[in-house]
Amino acid sequence: MFFTLLKKELFVEFRSREVTLSMLVFGLSIILTFALSSNVSPTIIANYAPGMFWLMVLFVAVIGVHRTFSYEKEFDAFSMLISAPIDRGFIFLTKWISGFIFLTIMEGLILIPFFKFLMIDFPSQPWIAIGTTLLINCAIMAIASLVSGIAMRARLSEVLLPILLFPLVSPVLIAATKISGSIMVGDPYSFWKIWLLIILTVIVIFGLVGYTLFDFITEE
């Protein structure tokens, strides 16, 4: 059942490309805004680049999760989904994993414009940067999928989602900025180990809490 739900999420998206396309265009607009509003030396921009990158990812993630949940509201598809005899925790898990896949695709497409427009160098340890980025995406989407599941069927959901999400995700944003900043300047693992632990903690705790709570949140 889990794989059927995941297939549904991916199939809907790969047919319409609605979520990834809107995330990508929004992300490019943010990069353009950052580049135009920070007309300073590349050295200064390089210091702010990790923060800018993760802020952009956070904004884009809001657009993504809001879209993945809001198309469930059309034709009341979500009511039909939760009336099916399935573990509702699986709905959370599939939203989380599909959101993670869409966010990672968007980042893959946006990385080159980000580095080129802001005129900063690529990290010297690309595989470590990719590995940590995947974990951070996973942590962001764990919280974002849970909060979106809560806010989705509320009135003013598009306002409530960022208002609830941004403070909750602040530890991930701090850790992500620190990890990426350290990798950009080539710091050893021991310098950013603690931040990686925070990211892993968020993945485990919010994964478990989301899986458990989703059953109660979606009750009718």
């Binding site: 849970l146 909060v147 809560i150 806010a151 069927r153 509320a154 009135r155 003013l156 306002v159 409530l160 208002i163 609830l164 941004f166 403070p167 909750l168 602040s170 530890p171 701090i174 850790a175 620190k178 603690i194 931040w195 925070i198 903690t201 968020v202 705790i205 919010f206 809490v209 709570l213 109660f216 949140i217 009750e219």
Partner: protein
């Protein structure tokens, strides 16, 4: 439903706690010693720390009420959660006001991203979202479930927020209350007394607020 203070126990509790709070203020101003480097500014800690304790206790109650609401499907726990969230936010506001008042003369500026105050601010913002959800969320039965879930995840996030902010700014000193247990008895005893009085005040406020919210919901149900 009878007015809350018609009940003899509640009325006696109110009078007793009001008297204890007046004594507490007098005791803090008149009897506690001046700390050499901090002078009068230090006395705000007899209010600031108990407010923070009650705020976090109240948000813990929101989480427990949320769990019980999901388990027992009883609206009473939703009332408890809402009442505790309201009172917790009042006390967290006090923390966010008294913290910068203390920090201005001691650190030279009102805000320096101190881990405890930053965690309080983030939690306060989450609860602003919680109240927006309660007010503008729409369908009343769904909102009860969403609010319970937000109360649970907000408190689960507290230790993660605290640790991340602490490592984010390791150079910033921690509040002096870390060493409160090692303070001399003339500071420690009034501090613990203030903490106990604030806790009793919290219990009374919680009972009163649950009573008021219950009346309000009955009135709304009958309209």
């Amino acid at each position: 439903m009878k007015p809350f203070f018609n009940n003899k126990t509640n009325r006696s509790g109110l009078i007793l706690i009001a008297a204890m709070m007046l004594f507490n203020v007098w005791n803090v101003i008149m009897n506690t010693p001046m700390v050499p480097e901090q002078h009068w500014a230090q006395k705000i800690f007899y209010i600031h720390v108990p407010s923070a304790w009650v705020g976090f206790l109240s948000y813990f109650v929101v989480m427990v009420a949320g769990i019980l609401f999901f388990m027992k499907k009883d609206d009473y726990w939703d009332l408890v959660g809402l009442a505790a969230a309201e009172i917790g936010t009042v006390f967290m506001s006090l923390v966010l006001i008294t913290g910068p008042i203390w920090a201005t003369p001691i650190w030279g500026k009102p805000w320096i991203w101190e881990p405890r105050l930053t965690t309080t601010l983030i939690l306060f913002l989450i609860y602003i979202g919680y109240f927006m959800m309660r007010t503008f969320g729409g369908h009343i039965e769904r909102v009860k479930r969403y609010a319970a879930a937000v109360g649970i995840i907000a408190f689960v996030d507290v230790p993660i927020i605290f640790v991340s902010v602490k490592f984010w700014t390791p150079e910033i000193q921690s509040h002096p209350q870390v060493e409160m247990a090692q303070q001399p008895s003339e500071i420690l005893i009034p501090f613990l007394l203030s903490l106990s009085i604030f806790t009793l005040l919290y219990v009374l406020m919680l009972k009163y607020r649950i009573h008021v919210i219950r009346i309000n919901s009955r009135v709304r149900a009958n309209v």
